[in-house]
């Protein structure tokens, strides 16, 4: 079943910068899809459009078979969680616990259910010890995990992750990859971290200047050195010795 269908989407920023140009692809239930591309290729803009934070100039976004109307957008946002590139944009309540509880409370759950979900999300992301800390006192990796816990607490069907491993040290990065790898959710990961794509994604979409250059199985796409170079990317480090 298709969760998201992106059909011929075009988007330009108000200053005229073209971000996406006639983009089409689908996200299938249960898959972890990687979206890779050089800086400015339109990955983050695409996630913003999928979450309804931006509106496409042309084309349409279909969620579970229905075009995103105001009503459908609310349903989609209840069922989809997005991790922003900068976790500081996402964390704003006085403690990590309160922040993680923000989403479930907006779902109208009882305080008991909220507490259950928050504690479970903190456990899943391994940050139970940070529950009473102020979000702005955390390190970059801890902030990302706290923001991720905020998504998990909403129990979304789909996760949209924007550069989840950027700025993380190797240990935090590995922990995050393990967490994402364990998830049973559908996930779309926009990233430069092609080794992570190798580890957790089944399919990858390569973007260049707002268009899709390739959409296919991970090993097939990521091992084509010339193609990757033409898109401003390199093959994953883990494959370098085998293919150099």
């Amino acid at each position: 079943m298709k969760v998201f269908e992106i059909e011929n989407i075009c988007y330009s920023y108000p200053d005229g910068t073209k971000a996406l140009n006639d983009l089409s692809f689908s996200v299938y239930e249960g898959e972890i899809l990687g979206i890779a591309g050089a800086n400015g290729s339109g990955k983050s803009t695409l996630l913003m459009l999928m979450m309804g934070c931006l509106s496409p100039l042309h084309g349409k976004i279909i969620y579970e078979g229905e075009k995103l109307s105001k009503q459908k957008l609310m349903i989609m946002r209840r069922e989809t969680g997005i991790l922003f590139q900068d976790p500081d944009d996402q964390l704003f309540l006085p403690t990590v616990w309160e922040d993680v509880a923000f989403g479930p409370r907006n779902l109208g759950l009882t305080e008991e259910e909220v507490a259950l979900r928050v504690n479970s999300a903190l456990r899943d992301t391994g940050i139970e010890a940070l529950a009473n800390k102020a979000p702005w006192k955390l390190s970059g990796g801890e902030k990302t995990l706290a923001a991720l816990a905020g998504l998990f607490a909403m129990r979304p069907k789909t996760l949209l992750l924007d550069e989840p491993t950027s700025g993380l040290d190797p240990k935090s990065r590995r922990e995050l990859i393990n967490i994402i790898g364990r998830t049973k959710n559908t996930a779309v990961i926009a990233t430069h971290d092609l080794d992570m794509v190798m580890d957790v994604c089944q399919r990858v979409v390569i973007m260049k200047n707002g268009t899709i250059e390739s959409d296919g199985k991970v090993p097939g796409v990521l091992t084509d050195r010339e193609f990757m170079a033409s898109c401003g990317l390199e093959i994953p480090l883990s494959l370098t010795s085998r293919f150099s």
Binding site: C53, R77, E98
Partner: protein, 261 residues
């Protein structure tokens, strides 16, 4: 104090035990402020016993005195600027503690004393309850949700403004740039644009987590007042009333003199 730390209110010791409810602290601090302000502008030493309140809640909440002092220093110049005109306009001379002095200086001293009493108490209250606690109290007191949410988000965006200003100033200074009145416009423009862009991202993040304009949900509105809270309120209100009605320093002085001699 760094620019980006100006907004911070979490200056209490995190390991502190349970404290009084925000509602109780808000109420007592309000009565305290009214008591301090109600003193005549020429009355100085009579209000000194009121210093017991900020000292008590400060030590009880284990608020860092150094941080409170640093925050007070940022406001002090404004108070001095307002009060310093009193000696020029109120030149009537009187004898005070055995010295001939103008009434303007006494009222200036009184203003500074009021500042030294009210500001620490308010800062300690905010630090001990947290801004979130205050907003929750405001919501539980029936303040409209839209106002409470605005109040809370205002604090979030002030923090954002301070962070962005800090980043821009640091970026300039590290590359040898100087901040002058002439180039302030070059800073304010990008600052505004950066703040707008970040606040849009924050708003998007809120919307993506189902934010519907209400931060404090009705079923969370709990403000149970315990017997301890009630005793706390009554004790302090009684103390403030006594300080207001009687001249405590004179009474204590008389008592000591009576006992000793």
């Amino acid at each position: 104090m760094r620019l980006k730390d100006l907004y911070r209110t979490e200056i209490y010791d995190e390991s502190r035990g349970p404290f009084f409810s925000p509602l109780v602290l808000l109420a007592v601090t309000f009565v305290y402020t009214v008591a301090v302000v109600s003193f005549d502008r020429y009355q100085t030493f009579r209000m000194l016993p009121l210093a017991a309140y900020p000292i008590f809640i400060g030590s009880f909440a284990r608020v860092s005195g150094r941080d409170i002092f640093r925050k007070m220093l940022t406001v002090l110049p404004f108070v001095i600027f307002i009060g310093i005109w009193n000696p020029f306009f109120d030149t009537t001379r009187t004898e005070y503690l055995g010295i001939m002095i103008s009434m303007g200086w006494i009222s200036f001293f009184s203003l500074i004393l009021k500042f030294l009493l009210i500001v620490p108490a308010t800062l300690i209250m905010v630090a001990a309850t947290g801004f979130d606690g205050l907003c929750r109290t405001a919501a539980s007191l029936g303040l409209p949700d839209v106002l409470v949410t605005q109040f809370f988000l205002l604090q979030r965006y002030i923090r954002l403004l301070a962070e962005e200003t800090h980043n821009i100033v640091r970026a300039r200074v590290f590359r040898g740039g100087k901040i002058t009145v002439a180039n302030a416009g070059n800073i304010c423009g990008p600052l505004l644009l950066r703040c707008l862009s970040r606040s849009e991202r924050i708003h998007s993040a809120l919307m993506c987590r189902g934010f519907g304009g209400q931060l404090y949900h009705k079923h969370r509105r709990e403000n149970r007042i315990s017997v301890h809270d009630l005793i706390f309120v009554l004790t302090w209100v009684l103390f403030f009333s006594m300080v207001r009605i009687f001249d405590m320093p004179v009474l204590i002085g008389d008592l000591i003199v009576g006992c000793v001699f």
